[in-house]
Amino acid sequence: MESGFPVFVVLAVVSILSAIGVVAFKSPVRSALSLVLAFFTLALLYFNLGAQLLGISQIMVYAGAIMVLFLFVIMMLKLGGHDKQPEKTDRRLYVAIPVSIAIAALVLTKFIEPMLHVPVSVIGDEYGTPQAIGPALFTTYVWPFEIASVLLLVGIVGSIMLAKKRF
């Protein structure tokens, strides 16, 4: 077993629990915080796999910037509301839960078995460093990269256009 495996288990459990927390919490702020934790542990998982740049970008972009904006909006709109509505248990849940568990079990049994035999890939020291990703991004994958950035630019311009009152 690799030395990173216990770390992986801990991180994976925390990340799954926080991902469940995102949908399970009733207060939107707590959901958002769970999402932050999920992103953060995901970044740590990337570190564990040696993908430094990806992990740090994950923290910087998702945990550090996007989620702050989410929280900002949630707080501005005061979406607080500690379980104000009495929840009725939906009867469909009695069918939905067993069926989804069954499907999950079916998928997992098919997936776990071959995954146990996946050879541990040996990656070099350079893997996941800025020195490896930078050249790849700007030579081999320059077109997809540029198209993605243009897409983002279009998104920004579009949102500003929509936010403006007069065109």
Binding site: V29, R30, L33, G64, L71, F72, M76, T129, P130, Q131
Partner: protein
């Protein structure tokens, strides 16, 4: 000692390194608060805390250690105070927020080297010498906002919430300019690794002057980037003149209004620790890290043969942590000086400074470094600097050409405290 360290396991070394980073901060934070209060009072023509401790010897002579112990007693007072938790707070988040504010302040220093990477020091610093050192700093400093925002939200108080919202807007805006200003330096040195960044500053000045080290603050692009980083760093640690999240005349105390005793102390400590570490990062990235002067002693020693330079080089090596601490103190003094000098920015001024001034200047600076790098690569260092100078002149000409044609929406308010005509 060096051999003993070399034999230790990676885990033991990591613990030693973390302690070497955290312990000085924890010990020095009270000193820092004392320094701030004394310096502020000196700048404001007051005396400041100078009494505690007053010791009397057998002959009845009184000694004062310049009030140095005052902060310790202040801390003790804070810890012993009644801890009030308002009834309507969101309890879990309320308790969690101070911890979340302290966490980034300490983690931030994880990639910061305070001594050269040779001999004994290589085992002691930095905590983690990772390839993405500088990005780590940016990422962790971007997490700093959570403590403030959640404290503001959990307090269930409109003023606190306002403070939290201001903090999130401010920190996100200034992160951008900070990132781009650092990019210029990263571009010039070709690495994100903090130790590499410091090593790059030991090269020849401006790429061609031997004996002088290439501290980034001494290069034109580094100076611009350094000033922008310095401003952003003050904004990131919520210090005056960017202390809008806790503006006391508008928001009582902003996000920590509802906090008392220990929990308030934790916020306080987080702020000072962040100041400390940001100063350290500034020293690492722009002020040549642990080198005492921008002079290449080893080069001087090899050219002149004078053993004096050898001695200085050795001193430079062995006193590296002290030099680094001195540079941190320099940064902190700058923080305090700013606080004593500048009035707090208005919200629109804050936003326009961040988005309309710092960010464009940082981007232009970044592009200029690119031009310089290409010219140096293709032609030579001299030609690169000539091109750089021409580009700067062109950009300045362009700016002064269009400056008056741009719409200026920033409201200007002036207050005449004493009317010069009437006072005569």
């Amino acid at each position: 000692m060096t051999e003993w360290l070399a034999r230790q396991s990676e885990l033991t070394l990591a613990i030693i390194r973390v302690l070497l980073l955290i312990a000085p901060i924890l010990i020095l934070v009270p000193g820092l608060i004392w320094w701030e209060r004394r310096l502020l009072s000196w700048m404001q023509d007051r005396i400041g805390p100078n009494r505690v401790p007053t010791m009397t010897n057998a002959k009845g002579r009184k000694y004062r250690a310049a009030g140095l112990v005052q902060t310790l007693f202040d801390g003790l007072k804070l810890f012993l105070k009644e801890d009030i938790t308002p009834a309507s707070v969101d309890r879990k988040i309320y308790f969690f927020a101070p911890a979340l504010a302290l966490f980034p302040a300490f983690v931030l220093g994880g990639t910061m080297p305070f001594a050269p990477q040779s001999g004994i020091w290589q085992y002691l610093t930095p905590v983690a010498d990772i390839e993405i050192g500088l990005m780590f700093v940016l990422a962790i400093s971007s997490l700093g906002v959570y403590g403030v925002v959640l404290a503001g939200y959990a307090s269930n108080n409109k003023y606190s919430l306002m403070g939290g919202l201001r903090a999130s807007a401010q920190l996100i805006s200034y992160e951008l300019a900070m990132g781009v200003s650092l990019l210029a330096v990263v571009f010039a040195s070709g690495s994100l690794k903090m130790t590499k960044l410091v090593e790059m500053q030991e090269a020849d000045w401006l790429g061609g002057v031997p004996a002088v080290q290439n501290w980034f603050i001494l290069t034109p692009y580094g100076l611009v980037a350094g000033v922008i980083f310095l401003i952003c760093m003050v904004a990131e640690s919520n210090r005056a003149p960017f202390d809008l999240p806790e503006a006391e005349n508008e928001l009582i105390a902003g996000y920590h209004t509802e906090y008392s005793s220990m929990k308030f102390a934790v916020f306080f400590m987080g702020e000072y620790a962040a100041m400390f570490i940001f100063s350290g990062i500034f020293a690492c990235v722009f002020l040549g890290g642990y080198n005492i002067l921008p002079i290449d002693w080893a080069y001087l020693h090899s050219t002149t043969g004078s053993s004096f330079f050898k001695v200085v080089a050795d001193l430079n090596y062995w006193l590296a942590p002290l030099t680094f601490l001195g540079k941190c103190t320099f940064g902190i003094t700058f923080y305090i000086w700013l606080r004593a000098t500048l009035p707090r920015l208005r919200y629109d001024q804050l936003m326009s400074l961040g988005w309309k001034t710092l960010l464009p200047v940082a981007v232009v600076n970044f592009c200029l470094v690119g031009v310089w790098l290409i010219m140096e690569d293709v032609m030579s260092v001299g030609i690169a600097w000539v091109t750089y100078a021409i580009s700067v002149v062109l950009i300045l000409a362009l700016w002064f050409g269009i400056k008056n044609k741009l719409p200026n929406k920033l409201e200007r308010r002036t207050v005449t405290l004493v009317d010069p005509k009437r006072s005569a």
